[in-house]
């Protein structure tokens, strides 16, 4: 009976994918590759076919790639109906229907939600509207910012020193543009890599002529009579004149359209099981709704079954493939999503890469190279196990540490390593910010607080 049902789904079912970026596209391709022959619909709020975002903060800002020409290569024909420039506005789980902003409705037998995230806007709307204030998430954002960088701004001001903010600052310096970066924490990248590595990133930025200001917040953006931004006011009472401001305050998950749907969706994304099936708000897994990419939170066996929310390019690809596979399979044929978290960043001439989940680590050990030389590998430990590694211009060693994470190898590592320096004989505190304190959204959300810790307060949404 079940086999017959599945057979019919694969032959003539209707699958809808909400979100037409990296995860949506790779899911569609995987569905076709694995023999789905039914109706496939993709809904995307941007008017473009799926494009790649990582270049937007790197090669595009350096003028080495056209912001309007980063469409993703296709692995295969998807033979799908693309509804682009249309936003999903609601979901009826009982009827199996997605409501669209143009008044249309799309019915599905299986649904994949891959709506991703958007850039967190500057909270004061009138200031956010000033000419010269930019977000950086979409290709239109990148095109506008690149144009402005080309016109010779006197100073660019970047609010927030996460990866995107640091990459923008790097692109500015490479083109000889004056740039100030303001960060609320004590160093750049602390949310992702901790204070020890953050201090290395801070030195790197300052060496390249960035005016980096830490432990400050921006209190106001000031415009001139013509509505152009002209200065930035900081919490330490200082004022910095700037004609371009890049707001780089992390991202917000695109889940508002699911309010009231009964799905377990909220500001931290959509929780799902290891097979990418979404939970409803009661914590009961749904049968026909799947999630993938930046908007998903799924438990990971290697990391204490914490529900990880990973804003990583590679996660979008791997999770989309797993979700698509599971959508048209049953029982034992389904696969868990056990991708090893990994990301990269390129800034100030240095290639920064990581595997595992650094924010889980309480301790850090520089096992190879030296932070002073900006060439090193750092290994993060949690409860006596290796949980992550980071490399600065040392990517070829990462695979070795990935295997160590997979094996749950002991921390600190018990073996001698190549290029170990005398000063790095012992682990040091990794110095991550207290996860219970409010901060801008980290790239990796760790949810593993026992209720006994009373670190999180549960506020049910009011529908």
């Amino acid at each position: 009976m079940a086999a017959e049902h599945l057979d019919r789904l694969r032959r003539e079912g209707r699958i809808t994918i909400v979100g037409a970026s990296l995860a949506g596209l790779r899911a569609a391709e995987t569905l076709r590759a694995e023999g789905f022959a039914g109706e496939l619909t993709l809904i995307g709020d941007e008017p473009y076919e799926p494009y790649d975002r990582p270049p937007l903060s790197k090669s595009v800002l350096l003028g080495r790639a056209d912001p309007h020409r980063t469409e993703l290569p296709r692995r295969r024909e998807t033979d799908a109906t693309w509804r682009l420039g249309v936003t999903a506005t609601g979901l009826d789980l009982t009827a199996g229907r997605v409501r669209l902003s143009d008044g249309d409705e799309v019915e599905y037998d299986r649904l994949l939600i891959a709506t991703g995230v958007r850039a967190r806007p500057w909270p004061k709307e009138s200031e956010a509207r000033l000419d010269g204030v930019f977000l950086l998430r979409t290709r239109d954002d990148a095109a506008g910012l690149y144009q402005r960088l080309r016109s010779g701004p006197r100073r660019v001001f970047v609010i927030g020193a996460g990866f995107a903010g640091c990459e923008v600052a790097s692109a500015c310096r490479e083109q000889g543009i004056q740039v100030t970066v303001a960060e609320r924490a004590g160093a750049p990248l602390v949310g992702a890599l901790g204070g020890v590595v953050g201090a290395v990133a801070a030195d790197l930025m300052r060496e390249h002529g960035v005016d980096l200001r830490t432990r400050v917040t921006v209190t106001a953006l000031e415009g001139d009579a013509t509505g152009r931004v002209r200065a930035v006011h900081l919490s330490d009472e200082s004022v910095v004149e700037a004609d371009v401001v890049v707001v780089s305050l992390g991202s917000q998950r695109n889940t508002e359209w699911l309010d009231g749907s009964g799905l377990g969706a909220g500001p931290r994304g959509i929780a799902c099981d290891a097979g990418c099936r979404a939970f409803d708000f009661r914590g009961i897994v749904t049968d026909d709704v799947f999630v993938a990419g930046d908007v998903a939170r799924s438990p990971h066996a290697l990391f204490e079954y914490q529900f990880l929310s990973l804003e990583h390019w590679g996660n979008a690809v791997a999770q989309a493939e797993t979700a698509a596979h599971n959508m048209i399979c049953d029982g034992a044929d389904r696969r868990p999503h056990l991708w090893m978290p990994a990301f990269w960043s390129s800034q100030f001439g240095v290639n920064i890469k990581s595997v595992g989940v650094p924010p889980m680590g309480e301790e850090l050990m520089i096992t190879q190279g030296s932070t002073a030389e900006r060439r090193f590998v750092g290994v993060y430990g949690h409860k006596g196990r290796v949980v992550a590694a980071v490399s600065f211009d040392n990517t070829r060693w990462l695979e070795f540490y990935q295997r160590a994470i997979e094996r749950g190898a002991p921390f600190p590592p018990e073996y001698p390593t190549m290029d170990r320096r005398a000063e790095n004989r012992h682990p040091v505190p990794a110095d991550f910010p207290d996860p219970s304190l409010p901060t801008h959204g980290p790239m990796v959300t760790l949810s593993g607080w026992s209720p006994a810790d009373t670190q999180l307060v549960f506020h049910p949404a009011r529908h």
Binding site: R69, E71, P73, R74, R76, W339, S346, G349, T395, R396
Partner: protein
């Protein structure tokens, strides 16, 4: 022609930058920058770069006139 490089996989061997220097360039010690939509005259060089990548990190389409040229079928982590 469109291409994307999985920079998690990329280990900076620079074979692509050597075989298709107008498409790929090393930036610093081991970072890679590339043109995601190179001109068609780069077709053969790009095809060689895709084939030569030691870690199969490059996915490209429109190179051989039918479908994608790509690295491994399965992503990491299976």
């Amino acid at each position: 022609m469109r291409l994307v490089v999985d920079l998690n996989k990329c280990q900076g061997y620079a074979q692509c930058a050597f075989l298709a220097p107008d498409v790929f360039a090393m930036h610093g010690e081991e970072s890679l920058v590339y043109d995601p939509q190179p001109d068609h005259e780069q077709r053969e060089r790009l095809a060689r770069a895709v084939a030569a990548c030691p870690v199969q990190a490059i996915t490209a389409d429109g190179v051989d006139g039918h479908g994608a040229l790509r690295g491994p079928e399965a992503p990491d982590g299976r």
